[in-house]
Amino acid sequence: MLIKTSHDGFSHPTSSDITSPTVYAGRRDLIKLMASGVAGAALSTWAAREAHAQSLGATPRPGKGTALPGARSTLSGSVTMEKLTDYKDASSYNNFYEFGTDKADPAKNAHSLKTTPWTVEIEGLVKKPAKYTLEDLLKLSAQEERIYRLRCVEGWSMVIPWVGYSLSELIKRVEPLGSAKYVEFVTQADPKTMPFVGSRVLEWPYVEGLRLDEAMNPLTLLSFGMYGEVLPNQSGAPVRLVVPWKYGFKSGKSLVKIRFTDKQPATAWNKAAASEYGFFSNVNPNVDHPRWSQATERRIGEDGLFAKKRKTLMFNGYEAQVGQLYAGMDLKKFF
């Protein structure tokens, strides 16, 4: 390729990526210091943590949007060490039917989405129903970076660094009533800014839902950004859900309403084809889609043309974190 990127090796995006000579020259002093006595013992844990952080590598910013930094999450299972999907692929290959059904459509058409001003209404069975502005939501809890696997029901997957915080932080603020059993997520449906709203593929607005305990699981992320920047429009700006152990369509984009209910919400794909898309839609290699196998997946950008597809993991590899939510349930019946 004629255009050099940071992946080509010797070109560096910024001078700050290069270790300064003074730090480099001082490395042996640091080791000596750590080797010496009590001070060394204290420092070595710090050094080990630094080394760990370095092995993860700071998420490179694509430079496409406003920065939205988040501290690496310390939540168990929330930071996979797998190779990140290229930002270019993650932002140009996805489903967002409000902008067209082809996976290249959202990136082409979503520029028309208006994300300011933006409010998210919390209603239903809660003590404190409220209308949050985006600014309020951004400040509601500390922003974290989480690196999740994303498995699409169509059989492809990515690894994406999201920025946001656990949805449970918001849920705790609004204090659900004892009668609240489910959470319904209503997404934006504005035919003026979303050209395919009104097409007969799905019912609009696109509605998704979770059981309250699923929504309260700390892995369930209310996300405002990815790759260290605010979400691009095509990825569900300005605020979306990310539920990493479920097929991607469960994670509603461009949320405008969160409603607490006592009845299982009627969700968009379930209404369109109940036999194909269940309410739970947990990633499960043992339960096939009626029209295709879910046992394997293609990792976008990583598995080359001739590479074999990789095995799909139970709950997308988050079984340790979420398996207990479904204890005793027949997952073939509640797919």
């Binding site: 270019k88 140009s92 290959y93 996976k103 029209r291 295709w292 196998s293 293609r298 950008g301 043309l305």
Partner: protein, 214 residues
């Protein structure tokens, strides 16, 4: 000596163009262009985030397009009075088979990793794969009997009868495409191909009825 030059009818003009000795190589080259482009795009990584999917879909699209072209030859020949069009029918038909082979190879290789057991399971699992595979199986004897000696060996009538299988292939191809798109309820493109193939087959049907009544 002066001659009065009469404007020749379009069909006759077309006919002499099509009889030009470069006409066949030109059509051959044009028909290979999509393949060359896909090969180039695959090598230079211009097929997007999911090149396997892009290749499988593009080769499927081109199979359908060549199927439309080959079925358009006879109606065009009769309607426009251009007998020379018939010279291209076999080549275009073989390009249908060429693209469907690459389509099937892409699917078997990129999607299934050439695992015969997985492919067999997939054919049983997914009706649209079964339909596509059936269409491929029906096309195979047509490609195998496309040379002159095969026509002689079979006899013209029987050969023609066998090659009427392409009508079934057209129906199966549209069904295959329809089913593939059913997941997204996105039938706009399917409708275009169905309309084109439907009218090409409809024209033959009407001609058949008229012939048999007369």
């Amino acid at each position: 000596m002066s001659t009065l030059v009469m404007p020749r009818p379009i069909g006759v003009q077309m006919n002499s163009l099509l009889l030009h000795r470069f006409a066949k190589p030109l059509v051959f080259g044009l028909s290979l262009l999509p393949f060359c482009w896909l090969l180039y795009a695959a090598i230079t990584q211009q097929l997007g985030a999911n090149p396997a999917e892009a290749l499988i879909r593009a080769t499927g699209d081109w199979t359908l397009r060549f199927l439309c072209l080959v079925l358009a030859v006879t109606p065009l020949r009769v309607i426009s009075g251009t007998p020379a069009l018939a010279r291209f029918r076999r080549m275009v038909g073989l390009f249908v088979y060429f693209y469907v082979c690459i389509h099937l190879l892409s699917y078997s290789g990129f999607d299934m990793g050439f695992e015969v057991a997985d492919i067999a399971k997939d054919i049983a699992k997914r009706p649209f794969i079964l339909v596509g595979f059936t269409a491929f199986m029906l096309l195979t004897p047509l490609a195998l009997t496309s040379f002159n000696r095969a026509i002689k060996a079979l006899g013209g009538k029987r050969w023609q009868g066998l090659h009427k299988l392409v009508y079934a292939v057209a129906g199966l191809a549209v069904l295959h495409f329809f089913w593939m798109r059913a997941g997204k309820n996105n039938f706009a493109e399917v409708a275009v191909y169905a309309a084109i193939l439907g009218s090409l087959l409809g024209w033959r049907f009407i001609r058949f009825i008229r012939k048999n009544r007369l």
